[in-house]
């Protein structure tokens, strides 16, 4: 699962490592100030710089944690407030520890404000360093997440391919169809022959098509017709089907194996389980810049807990990879009964060039 879960454990670790790093910076600042002959010697400088630095660090981290917001301006205000408060508190703490009083500050011509200001100055520099570091790790994290996302989506596509392949040679379908053919060998040879021809056509086209290629609408419909013919013999009067496709759409390119799972679903879940059976209507309609392909059945409809099988997510995934946001699959209840599945894709696509 690609989600980041911050635990207390990690937070505490990060908090301590930030403090440790700040302590290192504080020491460097103390040395620097001493070299500049600022203040009352290295030891005092070190104590003050540690007090101020660590307090600022704690304040800023705590504020970040407590008042987390997405608004940059508010974040900036919170940051500056925490930094100032931290610097003041740190200076007071330093004074309390070292016993340096107001008078000493005056004697040395160093005002309290000076110290606080120096604290804020260095605090800003160090905070900038921390923020940059955070940002870099965030960007790295994002890149990593992207990579995981990409790999898992590739994996999903592969799995879907495999499942699709298995679905095409679904044992129940195959054995039942072969039983029918075997039966017809005795009773109705012509029917048996035509059923066998349909099965061969269906298996050959569905197995040989590489999923990346586009085929023409007419080719795709021929395969669906073969599939429906098989069921027509098996189900007899319980199945009626109509395929309506405008002549000018017949040569239109279309991705293979998108319609078949919808038809299969209509039969398997809609018509086969019902005593009366019903109709399947496949329609291709032009709607402005879009092409709509409807598969409607008058069967039992989709129950809330019924799985659609691999077909649906597979179709959605492929529509997304082929057309982005412009391709979609919508499912509606058909009136009075049954299910209507609509595939919507742009009429004009770059993919159209493949025919040349």
């Amino acid at each position: 699962m690609a989600m980041e879960i911050k635990s207390d454990h990690i937070n505490l670790k990060r908090f301590i490592s930030s403090l440790a790093l700040t302590a290192v910076f504080n020491t460097i600042i103390a040395i620097f100030l001493t070299i500049l002959e600022f203040g009352e010697g290295f030891v005092l400088n070190l104590i003050f710089s540690q007090c101020i630095g660590l307090t600022i660090c704690s304040f800023v981290l705590a504020a970040h944690k407590l008042f987390f917001t997405d608004n940059i301006a508010i974040r900036m205000i919170i940051f500056i407030t925490a930094m100032t408060a931290g610097s003041v508190a740190g200076t007071l703490l330093g004074a309390a520890i070292t016993g340096v009083t107001r008078s000493i500050f005056f004697e040395k011509n160093i005002s309290f404000i000076h110290v606080v200001f120096i604290g804020i100055l260095f605090g800003s520099i160090i905070s900038y360093f921390f923020f940059s570091r955070e940002k870099i790790s965030q960007i790295q994290g994002q890149a990593k997440e992207e990579k995981i996302k990409r790999l898992s989506s590739e994996k999903r596509v592969l799995e879907a391919n495999l499942k699709l392949l298995q679905a095409q040679i679904e044992p129940h379908f195959l054995f039942n169809t072969l039983s029918n053919i075997l039966s017809l060998m005795d009773s109705d040879l012509d029917k048996g022959r035509s059923m066998l021809a349909d099965l061969i056509h269906y298996l050959r086209t569905s197995l040989s098509r590489s999923r990346g290629d586009l085929v023409t609408m007419a080719q795709e419909m021929e395969m669906v017709r073969a599939y429906l013919n098989i069921f027509k013999i098996r189900m007899g009067d319980r199945l009626h089907y109509t395929i309506q496709i405008p002549d000018r759409m017949k040569d239109h390119p279309f991705p293979p194996m998108l319609v078949q799972p919808l038809v299969e679903n209509a039969i398997k879940h809609g018509l086969e389980p019902g005593i009366e059976g019903g109709d399947v209507l496949i329609r291709v309609i032009e709607k402005g810049d879009f092409l709509e392909l409807e598969v409607t059945d008058t069967g039992l409809g989709l129950l809330e807990k019924r799985e659609f099988g691999i077909g649906l997510s597979n179709i959605k995934e492929r529509l997304k990879s082929l057309y982005g946001d412009k391709g979609r699959l919508v499912l509606e209840e058909n009136r009075p009964t049954g299910l209507k599945a609509i595939i919507e894709v742009p009429l004009d696509t770059d993919k159209g060039n493949h025919r040349r």
């Binding site: 407590l66 044992p171 039983s179 189900m235 809330e304 807990k305």
Partner: protein, 256 residues
Amino acid sequence: MIQIKAIIADDEEPLRTYLRSLLSDVWPDLIICGEARNGREALELVEKHKPHIAFLDIKMPGLSGMEVAKKIGKACRVVFVTAYDRYAVEAFENEAIDYLLKPVTRVRLERAVKRLRKQIDAPHEQPQSDITEVTERILAELKEREAREYLQWIKVQRLDGILLVPVEEVCYFKASDKYTMVMTEEGESLIKKTIRELSDDLDPNQFWRIHRGTIVNLSRIAKVSRSLTGRGAMRLKDRPEILTVSRSYMHLFRQM
């Protein structure tokens, strides 16, 4: 000698015809007193003709072959016919129930017929397993499997009809009085179900409750951060709003 009667039930006409003709070859004395196209017709035929044997396809519209067998009980011997049903076949093997696999072959049918004849000639030496009890058990098992299934679809009322939204597309559900808001990447819609009713039907491996009134789809979570007050702020991948995780549900997001 009495005439042995049988019925054949299968929703696919060619298969009924085929089994009938095979039987007439293998068991010429057998009288096929009726063919049924679905489970209900099969029951009617059994009542009407009181056959000795019923050949029942398992997958039939209306009533399945197994449901028919359960209702028939001891009224006649049942032979199940199935194309591919690993689970059922396994069960039949264990319970010594007669079954035939499609496509039915002559050899296999001859063997089944031989067995049936023996059973009918000497019913006390060759009792068939109590079909009512066995099918009831198998059906209960199948039903339990079904009951374990979770909600796959959310039916959403739209102006132009009812839209079916697959649950995996839902980012989260939000309680709204007696109703529930369904939040997806594309938008939101109201359904007439309480969040409590929903939570029972959702797959707990996919949906987690994170607040009294919020159920979230795990695969749509981008990030959860914890505030010092103990509550959590959850960001989603496809929706802008930040959800609150109650303190009592934060344990779900502790270090994995």
